[in-house]
């Protein structure tokens, strides 16, 4: 089952790390550390093989893939030896990247995006294509009446002006082209009633939002721990220090708000109440892709005794995100092949702010994920 993966933000750190990693896995230069789909219960599932994957994508920047790969190597995100060994492969993928199109109306822009997707599928004889958003986070978007129904949306897109944020326009185009869609960012993406309607009609699945790679991942196991021990979390405060492209973007308070909200949601879900405290994001260019998050949790135990826990997480965001991007592409493609349409809440394991009403505790999300994989037909 030849599967295309079309990356929105294809020249960014996460995308290029994923491209290098997929090529290295195909060439058996690395093991699959970090790839969830290679763990025992999922490894047996009927997913596209590493050698079935073909990559393409859109980006607004033009930095050559190889240049970006060298930057990542210099920063310690990927090993330099892989960049050297895979330079030819990156050169071939370079040919599959396109500038993000734009037209006079959003309908026209979406049409051109969909054309690029169809062209990619046809050129490579792909069974299906997953469109995966790893572009930088958008500002929170104002509601628009046309978001409520597909008919209203189609009418509005045909006129001048901006109805959909870029991530949602891409989801629209993906669905129109019969492609599935995964949003790895906190942007709006497919989370609009009109787009749910379109996905259902087009018979394609989608998943999201906001890949869970660091502080929130830890929260999704620690918050249930406190809950299962009936300890009362009285405050939970955090600070995320990060550089890199997404860091600069998140310094914008509008984008920040979306991310911060999705970071605290897990606490209310796991604990049954929202403890005091917030999770902040600060941009520190110097820190680059190796994010540091610090959290302080105060809690009270038996007879009201006050206690504390702190943790620091020093993670490389791109190295944590890239294998999950590949996992999500394989799983979503398999769901598509199996005839699933609409939201895939079973993939909540991967996200800070999952679609649907699934569990927020990591262990429960894992059960949902393995159940999903077990149900895939060969």
């Amino acid at each position: 089952m030849r599967t295309g993966i079309w990356l929105i933000g294809a020249r960014g750190s996460v995308a290029v790390t994923a491209l290098i990693g997929a090529a290295a896995l195909r060439a058996r230069l690395v093991d699959a550390t970090g790839c969830v789909t290679e763990l025992p219960p999922l490894r047996a599932a009927p997913l596209p093989a590493w050698s079935d994957l073909v990559f393409g994508g859109h980006d607004v920047v033009t930095l050559p893939l190889l240049k970006k790969a060298e930057t990542l190597a210099a920063a310690g995100v990927v090993p330099g030896r892989l960049v050297t060994a895979l330079a030819d492969e990156l050169g071939r993928t370079e040919q599959e990247l396109r500038p993000l199109p734009s037209g006079d109306t959003q309908a026209e822009t979406a049409g051109r995006i969909a054309d690029d997707l169809r062209d990619f599928r046809d050129r490579h004889g792909l069974d299906r294509v997953v469109v995966l958003n790893v572009a930088t986070t958008e500002p929170v978007v104002a509601e628009h009446p046309a978001h409520g129904s597909l008919d209203a949306l189609r009418a509005a897109l045909g006129e001048a002006g901006t109805v959909l944020p870029p991530s949602s326009l891409v989801a629209y185009a993906a669905f129109e082209a019969g492609c599935s869609f995964v949003d790895f960012t906190p942007s709006t993406g497919a989370r609009l009633p009109a787009l749910a309607e379109l996905a259902a009609r087009a018979g394609v699945p989608y998943a999201g939002n906001d890949g869970k790679t660091g502080e929130t991942l830890v929260k999704s196991v620690l918050a249930p721990m406190f809950a299962l021990r009936n300890l009362r979390v009285t405050s939970w405060s955090g600070l995320n220090l990060l550089g890199g492209g997404d860091g600069a973007n998140l310094a914008d308070p509008a984008a920040n708000a979306a991310k911060v909200a999705s970071k605290q949601r897990v606490l209310g879900d796991a604990l049954g109440y929202q403890p005091e405290g917030t999770s902040r994001i600060d941009y520190v260019a110097e820190i680059g892709d190796f994010k540091t998050a610090w959290d302080l949790i105060t809690f009270s135990g038996f007879l009201g005794t006050g206690m504390r826990m702190e943790f620091s997480w020093h993670g490389c965001d791109s190295a944590l995100a890239a294998p999950l991007v590949l996992d999500l592409a394989r799983l979503t493609a398999a769901a598509h092949r199996d005839g699933r349409r609409g939201a895939l809440p079973e993939l909540g394991f991967f996200f800070k702010d999952p679609l649907g009403d699934g569990p927020s505790a990591l262990a429960a999300q894992w059960d949902a994920l393995t159940g999903f994989a077990a149900g895939l037909t060969r």
Copy 2:
């Protein structure tokens, strides 16, 4: 179902915190924070009510309960107002405490312990008694041929000399008296073939070992997190700084060895390999009951990228342990009533080093525990 709880080490910090807490819960002076049996899925189980519990116990020290309670209040472990309000109640329990008996042979000592247990049960008309070991940790014990079978053990106990460590002698006496047994410490307790044989014959259940209250609790959710994300833990090192009675005892390398081993076991179980590193315990009198543990975890992700996580846990050991002691007493009594005999691996949720081959990940242990509770007959 009137249930006796007989505490070995009844004048220690954990026991006295449990006594104060149980009295405060009966008097509705506090809520049940920290009590796992009060969480939704367990709350519905047919367990003895708080008002069904009667306390007694053995200790080698003679410090009056009220004095110990005042010390705990001064150290911030329990609120002073509870000690004042419950002074009469503590005075009544004081009457139920006995010095740990001793005889010319271990058989004779065990006989006297069993007499104390029967006397306690008869005096209060109890349906059953749970014997709970919260005494300080023993040194690791040498194997002895008589540990292998009940007949050999009985013969050996009748002679002069030491065959069983104190915790195991107590378990022996408990089983002889028809009582269940829970070991909250890393001591040997019931973990000998001869004692398993006796419990089976006597028709009583037992649980253990080593209450999971701090660093290991956190490990039991973090290690599965790394495993579920297919991240490779390359080292996991820790330092536990603690004062208090158990702290001084654990500074003894012999006792320390038992505890340190049980602290790292969860890693191998959850990860499938044993990462580099050890977990140390240091006694710092000044720190008292408010233990600080620090762990450094190094791990590698996709393409071998190295990352790190640190956590510090500042917990009050007695406040964390006491509600679990009450939970275990209620659960073990209910199992006893239901006719369970032998080890109770379903209670692994509570222990660093659980009996049997159960899971070591906290979420899986929780599932086992709620399954156990759901199976109890009313």
Copy 3:
């Protein structure tokens, strides 16, 4: 030398902790831990004795001192036994507290404040009075043309409207009444040219600003450490989590700005450049007076190798501030007696944002302080 200490914000946590502490020192119930003036080189200086100190003060709130003291004891800031032992003494000081006066113009208000100060001095036959601001932090204040000269200020104060923020009006009144002034807060206080002129004319000294009790104290030794080793600090970011009265106030971004600026100043001074990063303050009611600060410092060493340091500081702000308040009162009173007038830059050791151009490294500030003390005439 009988010395009055007049506290602005006399019913707040810092002031009441200082009152209890001074009474306890006089009664020899505690040792002088935390009091810098009791260290060897300063102990020999001719400062007012503990028994020479008389306390009074203003506040806008009316909570009785004893009530506030009990609250502090419940929160673990002061020992309950001291509150019990010193209840009578607190009752006597209660008689010396006055509501902060207010008049139709700021000149009238200042006149009433000065009357209270003169009345306090006369009633107790005091040689001199130090006015000490420990009220909550004010918002940053807009410049006003009348701040530039004493004549313009006097004219403006006589008219309707607000020319000076409360802290500066208090400094004005103190100088008019011949009292010295210390600002332990980041508020404007005496830092206006018109007030410098008045202090010079009145022949009184003043000191400030913003007591250095936690994160900034640590910065004032760590930043010089990096500088002396020629290590390049590439970023320094921090988060301060605090509850309590000042915490709530600092959640106001306007007040916050003043504090945050004074917190980063030490870095530029000690390093010779301003590293990336900011120091944030978040209000977490639950945390109360026991503030937690976390800082991440990234630095580069020989050949550009990147390294990191983190620290967490869990300090009780009132317990850290109160002894310094007493130290400052003793030192400022001695300076006043010695005929010093105007700013006292030698007291920079105590402040985040010291007056004058003194050193910002703690060790150099200590040298300046001991030099100052050695120069005091008996």
Copy 4:
């Protein structure tokens, strides 16, 4: 003033980082970050210039310098571009390295070492040579009667058997050859009465011991901070996790003991009492040269209020040590030229366990160092 630097352990991480760094500084490929002698007050001192330095050394291992340099680059300790650019230079230094000689008696071994030193000096026409020990730490050494006087020592060295540990034999040989000596390790080195006597007779200076690069450096500013604020440190505990050559060696309890003792000494010196707690060293191969140290400090303030501070230090030991090695060589050579003989306590700034009775607070050590530099004659 052409100055030779003879490194004992010349193929180790610290030595090779120093070699690369010195070559890079000469070639102006890097700035002098991490070099204390390039800070303003020392930069003006009459020290040998970077271009005056010539390197040679002994080692027991035979790994080529370039190979070691490549390993360091792969581990992120030095930039790969420098290794490439300086390969020729490293090749030239390779020619100056010798296997550590050995003879039938220690006298014979010392004679061969001294011959190597004289040969190095003559071959390059050097004004003087500094012998610098950066070999791995030795086990603590048993006392020997011959350590007490030079005559006894000379007699004993001529017989079979081991009188001096390797570091002391090197110091002996250095002094015999008229070279100064610096011990950057906690080994015995020159710290024996017989060697002090020899240095005095030979008219050469020496310095040591145990370079202060991480946890102890931080202690040397934090301990004085607590002291200057009259805060009582009630416990100070630490854990050092390190890999690399010296890490493996320090896992040996005998070597460990020396290091641990020198790590806590600064506390007693700075505080005037020894707080509870120890500083542990654990070997974790995975961590390599990037050491992590964690310290917990508990302290009490005014009225006995308990507080805490924690820090984590993630430092690259070789990158921290190498520039100090170069600093020490320049300073010791200048002292030698100026006719200084015997111990140089003014260099205590660089050491965990300085020779002589100098201050242990970093700021005071800095004052001693700048005083020393100011006194050097041109």
